[in-house]
Symmetry: C2
Subunit: 196 residues, 2 copies
Amino acid sequence: MLEKKSTRIRKEEIVRAALEVVGKSGVRALTISAIAGSAGMSEANIYRHFGGKEQIFAALADYIGDAVMGKAATIAAGSRSPLEKLETIFFSHISIIAEHPGIPRFVFSDDVHLGHRNIAENLSLRIGNYIETITGVISAGIAEGQIKPEASPRETALSLLGMIQLTALRLTIGNASFELRPEAEKLWRNFIALVS
Amino acid sequence: MLEKKSTRIRKEEIVRAALEVVGKSGVRALTISAIAGSAGMSEANIYRHFGGKEQIFAALADYIGDAVMGKAATIAAGSRSPLEKLETIFFSHISIIAEHPGIPRFVFSDDVHLGHRNIAENLSLRIGNYIETITGVISAGIAEGQIKPEASPRETALSLLGMIQLTALRLTIGNASFELRPEAEKLWRNFIALVS
DNA sequence: CTACCATGTGAACAAGTATTCACATGAGGT
DNA sequence: ACCTCATGTGAATACTTGTTCACATGGTAG
C-alpha cells in the first residue's frame, strides 16, 4: 500500500500527474486510470482527494493559469524597457511550453472549451488578462518611441500571442520536427523588424 | 428504412455530418453514434461505407485540406497584386472558419495530433504547403515594393497564420463573445501597418 | 496504549464506445 | 419477370470510462 500523505500534498501530486498525462498523450487520454498510473496510486484514491474529474480539470486550469499568465504579469510590472519586457515574456512563454507541453494542449483543447464551459470561461478570462498585459507593454513601447506609432497595441499583442500559439501547435502536430529555440528567435527578430 | 444511395454519395454525406458534429460539439464528441445521428442513418450503415473511424478521420482531413489549403493555392496563383492576394487569402480563411467551426477544431485537436499520427502528418504537410504559399506571396510583395524589405517572408507568413489561428481559438473558447468580421478587419489593418 | 478517522485499495457497476453479424430490401442488369 | 448483390439495420459483443462501496491500515489525539 502507498504511504499515507495529507490531502493537500496528494492534490498537488494528482494535478502534476494530470498535466504530465496531457503533455504525453493529450487531453483525450486524461482518464482517471491514466492519472492514477502516472501518479502511482489507485483510481479509488483519486476520488478520496477530488470529487470527480471536473474538479481535477478545474484545479489543472488554475495551476496553468498561475504558471503562464501570472508570470507575464510579474514581468510586465518590472522596471525594464517595454521591448525588453516583451522579449522576456515571449521567451518565457516559449520555455514554459517546451517544458510542459501539456499546458498549450489543455488550453487549446476543444474538450475543455465545449465539455467544461465554466473552466473554459476561467481560461478565457485569464487569456483576456494576458492580452491586456501585453497590450499595455506595447502601448508603453509606443509612448517611449521603441515601437512605431502606426502599430495598434491590442492587435499587435494578438499577433504576438498568435505567433506563440502557432508555434506550440506546429510543435505538437509536426512531432517536434523543428528546433524550438532557433525558431522562436527567428520569429522574435522578425517581430522586432516589423514593429520598429 | 433509408433510401438507398451509392457509396460515393454516402461517403460525402458521412464526412459532412462528421464535420458538423465537430463544429457543434468538438472532436471528443465525434463518435460513430453522433455521426450516424447527424447523417440520419444507422451506425451499422456507416461501416458499410467506411472501414472504421480511422478512415472517417482520414477522409475528413482530406476534405478540410482541400477546402482551406487548396483555396489559398488557387488565390496565390491568380494575377492580382501580392497584397491583394494576401488580403483575399486572409478573409477567405476567416470566412471558412466562421462557416465551418469544425475545421479549426479538427486541425487543432490533440486527439488527432497524438491519436492518429498518420493523419496528423498529412495535416502537417498541408500546413507546411500553406505556409510556403503565403511565404511566396510575401516574397513577391517585397520584390514589388508593397512590403518592406526588413520583413522576413517565412516568419511574416507564420505571424499572419498565427493571427488567424488565435482568432479561431478565441472564438471557440470565448463562446463567440466578439464579432468575427470587425475583429478580423482590425487585425488585417494592423498587419498592413506593420509590414508596409 | 488505544481508539478513531483520514487515507488507501480491489472489486463491482452502469453507461457509453467501436465494431461485427445475421438478416431485410430494393435497384438494375439479364 | 427475376435474381443478384450493394445497401440498410437492430441486436449483440468486447472493451473502456467514471464512479461507488466495503473493507484494510496506520498516524495521532486523548
